[in-house]
Symmetry: C2
Subunit: 251 residues, 2 copies
Amino acid sequence: MSRLLKEQNFALQILSMVLMDLETKILTHLRESQLNSQQLLFLVEQAKLHPGKVTVVALGPLTNIALAIELDPEFCKNVRQIVLLGGAFSVNGNVNPASEANIFGDPEAADIVFTCGADILAVGINVTHQVVLTDADRNKLIQSNGKFAQYLCKILEVYFSYHQEAYSMRGVYLHDPTALLAAVNPSLLTYTEGAVRVQTTGITRGLTLLYNKQKRFGEVTEWTDKPTVKVAVTVDAPTVVKLLMERLMES
Amino acid sequence: MSRLLKEQNFALQILSMVLMDLETKILTHLRESQLNSQQLLFLVEQAKLHPGKVTVVALGPLTNIALAIELDPEFCKNVRQIVLLGGAFSVNGNVNPASEANIFGDPEAADIVFTCGADILAVGINVTHQVVLTDADRNKLIQSNGKFAQYLCKILEVYFSYHQEAYSMRGVYLHDPTALLAAVNPSLLTYTEGAVRVQTTGITRGLTLLYNKQKRFGEVTEWTDKPTVKVAVTVDAPTVVKLLMERLMES
């Protein structure tokens, strides 16, 4: 390739980078403006009214939590704990090899949340992939009279099909129930601690990276002096499944 | 912050991104032009002269191997195997929490090498951190008459001090010997397989990410259709240390 062509190519690459970044920022802005500010105010005000009492269980992208933090920097201190379903710590993601879906939904927001200084417990797919509702469990739900069990069984086939197709397994991961139960009964999980940052550009956009503090780096890094958060590493999966099944069957 | 200030801030962020990227590209170019083209030609020609016979053991940043690939696209087919010391697979890096030193030295080159289609065995710090030369080993070297043992002991103190400071350990990691012995006797290691890409931008620049193919993604990802490489996961550490000690003491 000639030097001129190479330079044109390079200029195009830079332009395309800038445009992609602009597009992301504009989309994020649009998404933000659509959020109901009343919901945000409720979140911020409840935490302020009951300092140290409100636990937030965040089961989707973290846009609203990041906005709450920007709306009231005291939110992080007022809230008791943020239990978030998100991240793929030292494992492949589920949107692509690098990124888990909730973090991928808004990586910038996730980085704000992870570094805000609140008491955070992250439940990633490295943990929720240990909690599987099997075909046998599903059959028990079908045979039960629980109204939520009945309802769930009606809509569960698409989720089973997806797991069969994507993971070649007969069973489904219990992502949200695991995060919720982590908030209700923290002793169901063990966790490690460290600073977490989220990559926001390039092919690993949405990747969550925990610095476990085992090495002292000679120079300042992007993880230096960032608050410590908790990252779940193991879970008592049989108990999580049992608790969920009981709740569904006795509904 | 006012809208105008925010927009100025945003424009500055974009400008700074572009400048950082330009700087990286210029530095890379300078580094490349300083490389001895005779060495590159030797590498490419030896592989061509002896197809399927030449194993390259790459113990530093992968700039020269990437240039060899660009110089001769057949290089990847001609070479028997590239055993490379590099990467931090599912563990923290040693330059910063995301990146290992050799890959960090030239992430663009590393991504070219990992995706070139050659038979590649990557020995990362997730494996070399399992291989430790202890204080007791060092004392044995001091007492031996081996000339390389004697020489090594004279220069080893700085490396021990570094490990004490950075990792709070009395002992040193045997990075390069492990990669070299992996080429000599592959049965000293076990490995997994998948596509590896290297992140080249942002806070995780230099991060190596292996896609283990456990999930079939619905959409095309940056790992889709990329060649499979081998990534070391376990090592017979006692044997690596023993082989190195013998070689040094009997020299």
